[in-house]
């Protein structure tokens, strides 16, 4: 499997909000590695401040990292400018969370879907109109939706438009940042089904960013769990959800309210607040909240290391950034 996307050692910091000469910095990403295979879906899950959206923006070329590399199909994206960046962007398209905010309210649906065709001058204007109609059909909308404005659509329809617009330039990778978080469950199911169908039919890969573990579990081939700018665990979906190893992953899975009254939580899986990424904890970022911490956790930064023997060669290795490696759950 040649990787479509290969992220190595990505570091991003921002100036913290506020002013002053010696402003602190937000440590959004602190050395992140991630691999995504062609036609696969990699789920990226984490809570506020985990840096998952920043990672998505780096892959889209919308955020310049301080350090590290983003290889897309063998091409380094970091530092690309001008036409080279434009050429790569055709192949990496975003789908955003808020389907209303991601469509220009002044534009018709057709114009939004056409935006990348216009940018790259694909075909004649009538060709583009035809293509818009094909794309709308592909995402389950009728051609006359092209003349409507976003406010005239439901949330689910807007997200279909967002997906059609992302597909227009024929991307190999779609970076979807919380694409179904703003939608009701029944609509969410429709959009997830649509994305799965598009992946089957078009072979497009997804980097799927979400805070919702059950959604990530449903859509992903591989999953990475992020906490305060670091990936703490990466594995095959089945492997990760069946045998979570990192104490944070375990707590996160435990905290998800599952719709089964017989599987009620008897204790709070994780106490304390998520620390601020402005002043992240030393050593392992998770150590202040970790039930299993040992003395060295506050000093040493754990690296992602393979665990377990479950993986054969064609599986994604199960990687965990925790020196207190736990035995897999039965």
């Amino acid at each position: 499997m040649t990787a479509l996307l290969d992220v190595r050692g990505l570091v991003v910091t921002f100036p913290a909000p506020g002013s002053g000469l010696r402003r602190k910095r937000v440590h959004a990403l602190s050395g992140v590695d991630l691999t995504l295979g062609r036609g696969h879906t990699h789920g990226l899950v984490g809570e506020s401040g985990s840096g998952k959206s920043t990672l998505a923006r780096c892959v889209l070329g919308l955020q310049r990292p301080d350090d590290g590399s983003v290889l897309f199909d063998g091409t380094e994206i970091v530092g690309l400018r001008g036409s080279a960046l434009r050429d790569i962007r055709r192949r990496i398209q975003p789908v955003f969370q808020d389907p209303l905010g991601s469509l220009d309210p002044r534009w018709t649906v057709g114009r939004s879907v056409r935006e990348s065709l216009d940018a790259y001058g694909v075909g004649s204007p009538p060709d583009r109109e035809r293509r818009v109609r094909e794309l709308l059909d592909l995402v389950g909308l009728s051609p006359d939706h092209a003349d409507r404005h976003p406010v005239q659509l439901s949330g689910g329809q807007r997200q279909r438009v967002g997906i059609a617009a992302a597909l227009a330039s024929g991307p190999d990778l779609i970076v979807a940042d919380e694409p179904v978080s703003a939608l009701d469950v029944s609509v969410q199911a429709q959009i997830l089904n649509l994305m799965a169908r598009l992946q089957r039919d078009l072979g497009v890969a997804f980097l799927f960013v979400s805070h919702d573990l059950s959604v990530v579990e449903h859509v992903s081939d591989e999953v990475s769990v992020m906490y305060l700018g670091k990936i703490v665990e990466t594995a095959d979906r089945a492997d990760l959800f069946a045998n979570p190893v990192h104490p944070y992953t375990r707590a996160l899975l435990d905290a998800v309210p599952i719709p089964e009254p017989d599987a009620r939580l008897v204790h709070v899986p994780l106490s304390g607040d998520i620390p601020s990424p402005i002043d992240p904890p030393s050593g392992c970022r998770f150590h202040p909240r970790c039930p299993l911490r040992v003395d060295s956790c506050s000093r040493e930064r754990p690296a992602l290391t393979p665990v377990g023997t479950l993986n054969s060669a064609d599986h994604t290795p199960h990687l965990v950034a925790c020196p207190v490696v736990l035995p897999a759950r039965p």
Partner: protein
């Protein structure tokens, strides 16, 4: 005549007019009437505005001179019509210049942020803290008085206010998904500004410009009143107020009619500004 034979521009204007709230439509109508009056000033004014008539010094209103005559026997109605022309020209010119300068400055400051914002916003903030009239008087002291300088002075007062509004509006739009989306879909930053940011951020600027236009009449009047704006004998509303002050007790009409004209202009722009605010600035970005 069918709708198809009407040029697109006309239907757009008509549609924009009826899209406004009723009170704002009244403001627009008043302004349109005033502009027509100033354009047709030579036809409407019964007399030469600068013709001195020693026999009619401070003569009261009558049928031939509905607003009476001033201290030099000049017809106040004719002078008011021409003064309207000067004053409205200064108002439109100053607000247009300020808006056109504020648009790129505010948009760039809001969209790019960081050092671009600092470089643009800090000098504008300095302009903003100076008292408006002091700023105008300083400029006029350097360049010399006159209508064009008065217009530029008003533009200079308004530039930081309008740029700040445009900056705030652009800042909000800059974080919308469709702006990032535009870049990801292959457009340059400049194209995204033109296609997404400016059209969506323009509303508050228009609202603020309309409201400020009303006050511009007053600033113009103040400057002319102080002798720093339009120079005699060219009539302007402020200049007429200044002239009328001396004879206020004997011949109030010299003061009242240009004063009323100012009030009507201020009212019209405020009606328009409030209506636009209602439609274009629901978040209340313009204070």
């Amino acid at each position: 005549m069918t709708a198809k034979s009407i040029p697109a521009g006309v239907t757009a204007v008509v549609r924009a007019f009826f899209w406004l709230p009723r009170s704002a439509r009244a403001g627009v109508l008043i302004l349109v009437v005033l502009v027509i009056v100033t354009l047709l000033a030579p036809l409407i004014a019964p007399h030469d505005p600068n013709a001195i008539d020693p026999t009619r010094v401070l003569a009261g209103p009558d049928l031939g001179h509905p607003f009476g005559a001033d201290a030099l026997g000049r017809d106040v109605f004719s002078r008011t019509v021409y003064a309207l022309r000067t004053s409205l020209a200064i108002v439109f010119a100053s607000v247009a210049v300020a808006s056109l300068a504020a648009l790129p400055l505010g948009t760039a400051a809001g969209y790019f942020g960081g050092w671009v914002d600092q470089v643009i916003s800090r000098p504008l903030d300095m302009l903003l803290v100076l008292p408006a009239l002091l700023l105008a008087i300083t400029l006029i002291a350097i360049v010399g008085p006159g209508s064009i300088v008065a217009a530029l002075a008003i533009a200079l007062i308004y530039l930081p206010i309008l740029a700040r509004v445009q900056r705030a509006a652009s800042l909000v739009v800059a974080h919308a998904g469709f702006v990032e989306g535009g870049r990801a879909r292959g457009w340059s930053s400049f194209a995204v500004l033109r296609r997404h940011v400016v059209p969506n951020a323009l509303g508050p600027l228009l609202v603020q410009a309309a409201i400020l236009a009303g006050f511009a009449v007053q600033i113009e009047a103040s400057l002319s009143f102080l002798g720093l704006g339009t120079q005699p004998p060219t009539p302007s509303l402020g200049l007429m107020l200044s002239e009328g002050r001396d004879v206020l007790t004997q011949a109030p009409w010299v003061e009242i009619f240009p004063g009323l004209a100012i009030a009507v202009i201020v009212l019209a722009f405020n009606l328009l500004g409030d209506g636009l605010r209602h439609r274009l600035d629901p978040q209340g970005m313009v204070s």
